[in-house]
């Protein structure tokens, strides 16, 4: 892959795709640059969709800023249906073919649909991934539905519940597990969020599962019955049970895809089914499944904004790299934020698999604190609630693989650290 590429095709016109396009131009790429996406919109930002945009606080138009001189050719509203590696061509649903020297797979993920398709089709049952989804839900919220039900114990569920409470709409959150968010941020933070949500008036049901949904004669959602027999009346339900990676269009391309996405190496090169880098094909963002150097090279699939941007930039540089020696590894330390119930929650590092947790600044009672996660005696992640300014110090500690708890004896050493070992390591 030593010849300088003349044509780059990016499939997926969202955060990772646009970030890569910008980086390619910044790195001096002057060839033809096509950004193909199945949504009809210019690349837009998703995080506001479950927060401010849903509440109508600001514009629902979250189109991402785009320098005017990017010189991109957009192919919007048409999905890619195939990738011909031998011909170095991306095939679109309208039959057109886009030849490339380098291709970036940035097709992200979609909302996991409710498994019962008849129930999923009821008017009033939503998922939230796209701008169009957000517009539909926002319109429903403006009509003041009686009670909104959120299904799922992840961030999107709690963010939407928070918006509903701010609009004074009654809301129920159904979580299958005994704690929300425990998989992502561990049990102590999961129970903190649960308490905050309940304090804000959320009817939070743990260990709860839907037995069936009920529709009226006109196909509108009327209510649901839980497995424990309880009935909840609702005409608006948002299914927020995670995401599925968009790799189906790559079927038949001989690439290493599975439910975790498209496998790539640390240089963002997509791997073929045989495990070796596929010539000229790269991946970035939610669709990618990559070895994380901060976790001993364990494979991670991160569905966060910061990773999409960082990985796209690394992929862009590597797409232009003349030879293997010029490749740069993607060594981004995963991070994300969430805003809910007036609080900002941020996490840096990989809390998954951690075995210890300590609040090192502030306290959960004040709802303002910084916590660290340990794994086998090392600091692996840090979370802040309304204490973002402290995070960079702990990011540094995580990168150094500092002992847990970190920074002993330093200016910011806590008087007493209440150590907590996690009975059930976070997943």
């Amino acid at each position: 892959m030593s010849e300088a590429p003349g044509r780059v095709v990016i499939v997926g016109a969202s955060l990772a795709g646009l970030s890569a396009a910008k980086a390619l131009r910044t790195e001096g790429f002057s060839g033809s640059l096509v950004l193909a996406g199945d949504e009809p919109h210019l690349p837009y930002d998703r995080p506001p969709l479950s927060k401010q945009a849903l509440r109508g606080l600001t514009s629902a138009d979250t189109t991402l800023p785009q320098p005017a001189d990017l010189d991109l050719e957009f192919r919007l509203g048409v999905p890619a249906t195939g990738l011909d590696r031998a011909e170095r061509t991306v095939i679109l649903a309208d039959g057109s073919r886009l030849a490339f020297d380098r291709c970036l797979v940035a097709t992200g993920a979609r909302a996991r649909p409710w498994p019962n398709s008849a129930e999923a089709a009821l008017d009033g049952v939503f998922t939230l991934r796209t701008r169009d989804d957000a517009e539909r839900i926002a319109a429903r919220l403006r009509d003041r539905p009686g009670r909104v039900v959120l299904v799922g114990g992840g961030f999107i569920s709690f963010e939407v519940a928070s918006v509903c409470r701010e609009m004074d709409i009654p809301v129920t959150v159904l979580v299958r597990d005994s704690l929300p968010l425990a998989g992502a941020v561990g049990a102590p933070l999961g129970s903190f969020v649960a308490e905050v949500a309940r304090g804000a008036g959320v009817d939070l049901r743990l260990d709860a599962a839907i037995a069936r949904m009920q529709g009226d004669a006109r196909g509108r959602l009327a209510g649901l019955v839980l497995e424990d027999g309880d009935r909840i009346e609702t005409a608006c339900l948002v299914v927020a049970i995670g995401a599925e990676r968009n790799t189906a269009w790559l079927d038949g391309a001989g690439l290493a895809t599975d439910r975790n996405g498209l496998r790539c190496d640390r240089f963002c090169r997509a791997l073929g089914a045989d495990g070796t880098p596929a010539d000229g094909i790269f991946a970035a963002g939610d669709v990618a499944h990559w070895p994380n150097p901060h976790d001993g090279g364990a494979l991670v699939a991160v569905e966060h904004w910061g990773n999409a941007v960082a990985q796209a930039r690394t992929a862009a540089r590597n797409m232009l790299a003349g030879d293997a020696a010029a490749l740069v590894p993607h060594d981004h330390l995963p991070d994300f934020w969430s805003q809910q119930f007036g609080l900002t929650i941020k996490l840096v590092g990989l809390a998954a698999g951690s075995d210890a947790f300590a609040v090192v600044r502030g306290s959960m009672e004040e709802r303002r604190f910084l916590a660290v996660f340990g794994k086998a005696g090392r600091t692996v992640a840090s979370a802040s609630v309304d204490s973002a300014r402290w995070l960079p110090a702990y990011r540094a500690a995580i990168l150094e693989g500092a002992p847990f708890p970190p920074l002993p004896g330093g200016v910011d050493a806590p008087a007493r650290v209440a150590m907590q070992s996690l009975e059930e390591p976070t997943r």
Binding site: D45, T58, T63, P65, W337
Partner: protein, 73 residues
């Protein structure tokens, strides 16, 4: 215009809120809420906010390309 804030970077210093109070606000102690599509007429204000941010979390561009969205449909 189009605005995006990298909220991983944002540390709620609120400098943007002082610079462009009609387009940036803090809800609670740290939850920054911002206008993703401010009017082009407010460009100077938005650019001041972007420059004021001590962690350079704000990206803004004039939206010459907005028309493309319609064309792309």
């Amino acid at each position: 215009m189009r605005v995006v804030v990298d909220l991983n970077r944002c540390q709620a210093y609120a400098q943007c809120v002082y610079a462009a109070p009609r387009h940036f606000a803090l809800h609670g102690r740290e939850a920054l809420v911002y206008d993703t599509a401010p009017d082009d007429a407010d460009r100077a204000e938005i650019e001041r906010a972007a420059l004021a941010c001590p962690v350079r979390a704000i990206t803004a561009c004039a939206d010459d390309l907005a028309a493309l969205d319609e064309a792309g449909r």
